[in-house]
């Protein structure tokens, strides 16, 4: 079943924290579309509204103007179809690994019939020994694997990743990039990731959306045409990286 996500002229502004009815524009006139099988990275300097775009797709905030739609249905609120993995601290610390992964089933009152599925996902991320441990006993990489499993167990049409690896050390980070890619290609869904790491974006994505800040607008959309497993030292990789870095540092429109 094909999935298509469309952002049509989306803008979002917030009330200024300094009051007096000032509005701060976070995102202005953003339009793009993508479909299942794509891995899209949104890259840009801080303040370019990357996370805001992700939160609008998730349905956690509504756009001030414009529409976000999935398969011609306008997004109005959060849904399991659009799963999201956050930067850090999104696991419930008072629930065990297995309970965290099975959280969505618990909420829908179908925890018992999905017990085997939870076990399967615990195995999938290699944490059988930690199934009954609490997140405080896990390393940063393990925690993000649990967060990923908790989201993927709902079979989301769209997987939203909000800087999911930025709290990890460099080595864990690289192996987690492969793990995420494996899970994504296995499911064939649409993945959208926010990152400020250009290497990560080139390594993982089929398409990079370059944003420019104040207010956040789409600057360029760059398709990355290298077969997976990519080598970080190949000429094509370096060329894409330079192109994106140039795009980020340049201040033209």
């Amino acid at each position: 079943m094909a999935t298509e996500l469309v952002l049509n002229d989306v803008s979002k502004s917030f009330d200024s924290p300094h009051g007096k009815g000032d509005r701060i524009s976070a995102v202005e006139n953003v339009s793009f579309s993508c479909h299942d099988g794509e891995f899209v990275s949104i890259v840009g300097r801080s303040g370019c509204g990357k996370s805001t775009i992700l939160r609008m797709i998730a349905g956690l905030v509504n756009p001030t103007a414009g529409l976000v739609s999935v398969d011609s249905q306008v997004v109005k609120g959060p849904s399991k179809e659009r799963g999201m993995v956050f930067q850090e601290y999104s696991l419930f610390p008072y629930l065990t690994v297995a309970q965290n992964i099975g959280f969505s089933f618990k909420m829908s009152g179908r925890a018992r019939e999905n017990k085997a599925k939870v076990d399967e996902y615990v195995r999938k991320i290699g944490l059988e020994k930690f199934a009954n441990s609490y997140p405080s006993a896990l390393s940063g990489g393990m925690r993000q694997r649990v967060a990923l499993a908790r989201t993927l167990i709902c079979n989301p049409k769209i997987l939203l990743l909000d800087e999911p690896l930025s709290a990890l050390d460099a080595i864990t980070r690289m192996s987690m990039q492969d793990e995420i890619l494996d899970m994504w290609s296995g499911s064939g869904s649409l993945a959208i990731m926010v990152t400020h790491d250009v290497d990560e974006a080139v390594y993982m994505s089929t398409k990079v959306i370059l944003m420019r800040p104040n207010p956040g607008r789409v600057k360029r959309i760059i398709p990355i045409d290298i077969p997976y497993r990519r080598r970080r030292d190949s000429d094509a990789f370096v060329a894409y990286r330079n192109e994106i870095l140039n795009g980020l540092s340049g201040n033209g429109s």
Binding site: Y89, S90, Y94
Partner: protein
């Protein structure tokens, strides 16, 4: 290793002192004090032996016990010194400061009344505590959630906060239908204040990522309250429950001393009025044991409910 035997030495010292030195006053049922001393050392030895034989898991227990051994020994040394100063020399004036066997004798003589008072205090404490804690969690959650409720609740908490709950006791004695319900209200007020403040702080500090994750994973608003907001706030709630317990214990004793005609606080006042000072000591020791037990239970609950805090 050797230090684990220290309490035996203290026990020997206290027993020899008690039986060998001559008394300055007549000491009825002298064996009772000795039975208490012996019961203490038997319990200690049994515990030490048991933990020593159970090697694996017991060893940690045994080490902890032997770490604390000098303190147990000191208790016996203190008892021996106290006995010398009271029963053996009379340096501390009877009847204001009785010797230990005299305290035991008065406890044995008056045990039905003592038990009744203890149970009354315990019941009053628990009823008020549960009422105050539940009301506090409810207030904290609602105020943490709703900005408009918080607008009205916060000044109330800020103004009432510095007033010790005991201030209201005389007023509640006049206004309440029964003394019991009046005291429940006053004791619960202090618990409510502590718990609602800490719950409010906990609820307001719930991480946004937790709320967002729960929403995406299909939690309803009610589920978010009970499955995310309250469990996330538990560490903060338990801080309020601890300070609430301290407040409840203080208010309970004051309420019993000045108004309620039952309970251990009243027992102390009553014993004072009849100049039965040894019974005051009995009540003080009972209060000490009771409140320690209550706080110990609360600590165990906290450890259980917050077991997720430090990884295991």
């Amino acid at each position: 290793m050797i230090r684990v035997f220290l309490p035996l030495l203290g026990y020997a010292l206290a027993s020899i002192e008690y039986f060998l030195l001559p008394n300055v006053r007549e000491n009825a049922f002298p064996e009772r004090y000795f039975i208490v001393l012996t019961a203490g050392i038997v319990a200690y030895s049994a515990f030490a032996l048991f933990s020593f034989l159970r090697k694996d898991k017991g060893l940690r227990l045994f080490n902890r016990l032997s770490y604390r051994a000098p303190i147990f020994c000191a208790v016996y040394v203190f008892l021996a010194l106290f006995d010398v100063l009271t029963l053996k020399t009379g340096r501390l004036t009877y009847p204001f400061i009785p010797w230990f066997n005299d305290i035991i004798n008065s406890a044995v003589a008056d045990w039905p009344m003592l038990l009744k008072s203890t149970l009354f205090s315990l019941r009053l404490l628990l009823v008020s505590y549960v009422v105050g804690a539940l009301a506090g969690v409810a207030t904290g959650v609602v105020a943490g959630y709703s900005k408009s409720v918080r607008y009205w609740i916060e000044p109330v908490l800020n103004v009432l906060g510095p007033i010790p709950p005991a201030t209201w006791i005389p007023l509640s004695m006049i206004l309440a239908k029964t003394l019991f319900s009046g005291s429940v209200f006053i004791i619960a007020l202090g618990v409510w204040y502590n718990v609602s403040l800490s719950t409010l702080i906990g609820v307001m500090n719930v991480k946004k990522e937790h709320l967002d994750s729960a929403r995406i994973l299909g939690a309803s608003e009610l589920q978010i309250v009970f499955r995310v907001v309250i469990p996330s706030s538990l560490p903060s709630i338990f801080q309020g429950l601890s300070s609430g317990m301290t407040s409840a214990c203080i208010t309970l004793i004051i309420a019993e001393m000045i108004g309620v005609e039952a309970g251990l606080g009243w027992y102390i006042e009553w014993a004072k009025a009849w100049a039965m000072f040894n019974r005051m000591y009995v009540a003080i020791i009972t209060i000490c044991v009771l409140f320690n037990l209550v706080n110990f239970t609360l600590k165990k609950c906290k450890k259980h409910f917050l077991r997720w805090e430090n990884g295991n």
